[in-house]
């Protein structure tokens, strides 16, 4: 952090985190369920691209691996917040298969790049849309997810 003569403090105010879990009975799916599933699917897609492109296109593979790591980290954090809000086993979590990765072996780098770009854009848009409505702690979490996905887009462009 950059320091000023009189200490440039950028630390945010300690955030009182969002909701109290039991304040009201949750109705419907938690709004973080969708971004959590999307993060898991994106991680799987990016991992597949990373393996597929490793030989033919190391640069794209490196970006894909970075994307896979970040999205895995997003999924973990979102799942943790989901559990904090509603402890217990996830009820009837629909299994959404990850988007089909470009077929290994064809080394279709352009298609792989397009798939990752579309995934990153959709993830950024979904997270950004939630930032406006969610309580402070969750809004900040989703804001960072959206910003990270924007960075992925920048690397893919």
């Amino acid at each position: 952090m950059l320091a000023a003569g009189t200490a440039l403090l950028l630390a945010g105010p300690a955030a009182l985190t969002g909701c109290t879990p039991s304040a009201r009975a949750p109705v419907g799916p938690d709004p973080l369920e969708s971004p959590a599933r999307r993060a898991e699917a994106d991680a799987a897609l990016a991992q597949a691209v990373g393996q597929m492109a490793a030989q033919a296109h190391p640069a794209l593979a490196a970006t894909a691996r970075a994307l896979a790591e970040d999205r895995k980290t997003h999924a973990t954090a979102l799942r943790a917040e989901l559990y904090r809000a509603r402890p217990g086993p996830p009820t009837s979590r629909p299994r959404v298969p990850p988007p089909a990765a470009p077929v290994a072996g064809t080394a279709d780098v352009a298609a792989a790049r397009t798939a990752l770009t579309q995934a990153a854009r959709a993830a950024q848009e979904e997270a950004a849309g939630l930032v406006v409505t969610l309580p402070g702690y969750r809004a900040a979490l989703l804001a960072s997810v959206a910003a990270c996905c924007a960075c992925h887009l920048a690397l893919l462009s």
Partner: protein, 154 residues
Amino acid sequence: MRRRHGDSPASRVPVAALQGALAAEHAAVWVYGLVGAFVPGTLNSRLNEAATAHQARRDATERILIDAGAQPVPPEPGYLTPEPVTDAASALRLAITAETDAAAAWRSVVESSPADADLRGTALEALTEAAVRATRWRVTAGVTPLTVPFPGAP
């Protein structure tokens, strides 16, 4: 002043977080003034773009604070850099630091503002732009990892 204070209840405007964001923008403007002296001229347009973006954020944030009845924090008379800036590499690291600090400050605004489309949207945009600039400077500087999973997170 465009609005009366009564139209914008101070309790709904996260003044402390906005002052932090303003301080970060002041610092970033200062940093880009310094960085330009150490990096190749081929980066000038990107530096100008970044400096202009931070100046615009600074000015807009001052207006929000004034509208909320707060006195915007002024720039510091001087800034201490985390390490001496002596060449292109250390200058780029300083640019990355400035963007990282700005991202953190704007994330705090997101977190502490009410679920308000205008202010949260502005803060998200500022956070996102800072994070993307940090990533682009990491690419330029060859610093890895190029991304962090939670830009602005403490």
